[in-house]
């Protein structure tokens, strides 16, 4: 049991020892380990994206009374493989009048925050590539970077739909960053640490979703907005802006945007699980299995939301963010602060 729980930790240890035994200096060992982690993270993120693209199609099909992809491979599970290969071989179109460099760099940059964020996510007990002391702070800082490539993509395409989508994306992602951060702050107040492993361990008795239900709700809403998913999919807004920021992207560049969207959603689900749903903690099964089960359920919940709700309008989005979510999340932090103070100091009489 303990072995399975820590199997990946042991593998990492084994590689580290092998590298050291081969006579590399510690610096090179660290570099080697970094490469190993990077490959692992890229693997996780690509696999997760490929899996979840199909899972979304299947789950959407289930919601819509139909089977979803089921012909290619066992029950259709190779469908996204075919899609990915096809996208690789599609013609790459750069519209005339586009800012070529920006247009090219946007889909490359969109993956940077994704990979950076996954570096600190604790996939299991002791299973984070880097366990930073400022884990949550780092996560917030890194994920907010993804606004920039999206705006680059919209700006560089020389298309009005793209530009409109990009404008909406920036407004939306910047506004919803704030409630997102505040919703996480409540948890940080309780645990007194920014370290993700610490937060998970603090939930061994009770998950923070029960201590911070409002924060969890705010987190879910803000996270949906951050990842540009329905009902907050205004930047893409299929029925309004044809394909929004992605209108002029074809082939692999578009595929990168698409994969990044799913990776981001995966990260957001992972953060939600880590901070509110007890992370990798759970009985009987190895810790990383628990982590993936919980993330999967949260991800499925996001899919469920997406295929149920209509899209909201841009001014309603801003109103809701600034006039409702921000005050609510502030109040939540305030009340949590008082609660924590009372818990540690008593009422003073």
């Amino acid at each position: 049991m303990e072995f399975f729980n820590k199997i990946f930790v042991y593998i990492a240890q084994f590689i580290r020892e092998t590298l050291a035994a081969l006579g590399f200096t510690p610096v090179w060992v660290e570099m080697g380990m970094g490469t190993v982690y990077l490959v692992a993270i890229l693997g996780v993120c690509t696999l997760a994206a490929l899996f979840y693209v199909l899972w979304e199609r299947k789950l959407a099909g289930y919601i819509q009374y139909r089977p979803g992809p089921n012909r290619l491979g066992p029950n259709g599970w190779f469908q996204t493989v075919a899609d990915a290969i096809k996208l690789l071989t599609k013609e790459d179109i750069v519209p005339c009048g586009a800012d070529k460099a920006v247009h090219l760099l946007a889909p490359v940059f969109i993956f940077v925050p994704t990979v950076l964020a996954l570096a600190v996510v604790p996939f299991g007990e002791g299973m984070a590539a880097i366990d930073l002391d400022l884990g949550i702070f780092y996560l917030i800082a890194v994920t907010s970077l993804s606004t920039i490539p999206i705006f680059m993509g919209g700006w560089g395409s020389n298309n009005k739909y793209s530009l409109l989508g990009a404008m909406r994306a920036v407004a939306q992602m910047v506004s919803y960053e704030i409630p997102l951060v505040f919703s996480l702050l409540g948890v940080v107040l309780i645990t007194g640490t920014l370290q993700l492993q610490g937060i998970v361990e603090a939930q061994s008795k009770v998950w923070f979703v029960f201590l911070q239900p409002i924060a969890f709700l705010i987190f879910i809403i803000a996270a949906t907005a951050e990842t540009n998913r329905a009902p907050f999919d205004l930047p893409e807004g299929e029925s309004e802006l044809t394909a929004g920021i992605y209108t002029e992207y074809s082939g692999m560049k578009w595929a990168l945007f698409f994969l990044a969207e799913y990776c981001n959603l995966f990260i957001v689900s992972a953060i939600g699980v880590t901070v509110f749903l007890g992370g990798w903690q759970g009985p009987f099964l190895p810790s990383w299995v628990w982590f993936f089960i919980k993330t999967h359920l949260l991800f499925s919940f996001f899919i469920w939301i997406r295929w149920t709700f209509p899209r909201i309008r841009v001014d309603q989005l801003m109103n809701f963010g600034w006039k409702f979510l921000v005050p609510l999340s502030l109040a939540n932090v305030f009340i949590t602060g008082i609660g924590v103070y009372i818990y540690y100091n008593g009422l003073g009489w």
Binding site: A60, I63, Q64, Y65, R66, K160, Y161, L164, A230, P231, D233, L234, G237, E238, S239, E240, L241, T242, W307, T308, F309, P310, R311, I312, R313, V314, D315, Q316
Partner: protein, 364 residues
């Protein structure tokens, strides 16, 4: 700060223009400050073609006007011709016509509502009405051989009597349909986002609606109780008991509500007609070669989209000299340029979707 407006071309290929409508928007940020609607991208010149067809050959072309409700379009043309030639049609044919017309009204509204909600972003909501529509199309396909372009009515009656399968299928539909309506109301009516997106959006006053010649659910949503089935009953519509639902302020939400209620009223009519369905022939005695007297006739019926009129000029030959259709969608969408102004792009999509127009009918 000095700002500039810009032009956004919505269509002819755009997911929310339901075909090939083109709207050129002048935008200030996201807000519309000017708009010009261009139609004609599906102008097939039907009216000219019809001058070169015999009278019965016109019927299949009417199917292709409002292709979501082919039967209703058949109906207006055959009734115009019957009016012109003074043909009394058998009772049974009348009842079957009413039943089919109301079934198609439901089918058409199912598409209208489903696509409306889908354009607001709730993609799954289009799937449930389409399931109900499929049931109706199945019945119609068994009856006429086609899913959308039926060519089932004839001048003087129907092509043939209903089929033995039709009754069990209709029985099944009558049992299953109310449940769908209930479910759909639960799914959409109280949805916060839906209400926020549609309430007070695209409001049209009754005066303006009348001036623009709006008809059908779009007019009734503005609070005008106008339904040709009640005001100028054609066929045997005066025998049925049904309400004309009206909205309050004529916004997008009212248009949804009116359509949903209308579906229920149609369902009531179908049940009544089905109960009273008499036996007998379905075709009156009509000469083999249809040669109406010289003259012209205008007739109009209540289509799912609004008032569909048909104007036929006969010069005494077997071919019509002129066939003209008053296409409700054409009149309905002429109001767009005025009501778009001041709305956001997302609202414009909502308004477009809530009008439930069909380009085949707009452009003819």
């Amino acid at each position: 700060m000095k700002t500039q407006t810009y032009t956004l071309n919505l269509g002819p290929q755009h997911p929310s223009t339901h075909g090939v409508l083109r709207v050129v928007l002048e935008l200030d940020g996201e807000t519309c400050v000017g708009s010009k609607t261009h139609v004609g991208y599906l102008h097939r010149g039907i009216e000219k073609i019809l001058e070169d067809r015999t009278y019965p050959q016109v019927i299949p072309y009417t199917d292709r006007l409002d292709y979501l409700a082919g039967i209703n379009n058949n109906l207006v043309y055959v009734q115009t011709m019957e009016k012109m030639m003074n043909i009394e049609i058998p009772e049974r044919a009348e009842y079957i016509r009413v039943m089919l017309a109301e079934l198609m009204r439901i089918a058409s509204h199912m598409v209208g509502i489903g696509i409306y909600i889908m354009d607001l972003g709730a993609i799954s909501a289009v799937f449930y009405p389409f399931i109900e529509r499929e049931k109706i199309l199945d019945m119609m396909a068994h009856l006429s051989g086609s899913r959308m372009t039926f060519n089932y009515m004839r001048i003087g009656g129907l092509a043939h009597d209903i089929h033995s399968d039709f009754k069990p299928e209709l029985d099944k539909f009558i049992v299953e349909f109310p449940r769908f309506i209930e479910d759909y109301h639960r799914l959409i009516d109280d949805n916060e986002i839906f209400i926020a997106r549609t309430k007070n959006v695209g409001t049209i006053t009754a005066e303006k609606a009348k001036s623009y010649g709006l008809t059908g659910p779009n007019l009734r949503a503005c609070g005008v109780k106008h339904d040709i089935r009640k005001t100028n009953p054609y066929g045997i519509y005066n025998r049925f008991d049904f309400e004309v639902p009206v909205g309050e302020i004529g916004d997008c939400y009212d248009r949804y509500v009116v359509r949903m209620k209308e579906v229920e009223e149609s369902f009531k009519i179908i049940q009544q007609a089905y109960k009273e369905l008499p036996d007998g022939p379905v075709m009156a005695k009509v000469p083999k070669l249809i040669k109406p007297p010289i003259g012209d006739v205008y007739h109009q019926t209540e289509n799912p989209k609004g008032v569909l009129g048909c104007y036929v000029v006969s010069d005494g030959t077997p071919k019509p000299s002129r066939v003209h259709f008053r296409r409700p969608s054409f009149n309905n969408i002429s109001i767009f340029d005025e009501i778009f102004i001041g709305h956001k792009i997302a609202d414009i999509i909502a308004i477009l979707a809530s009008f439930d127009f069909v380009l085949g009918e707009v452009d003819a």
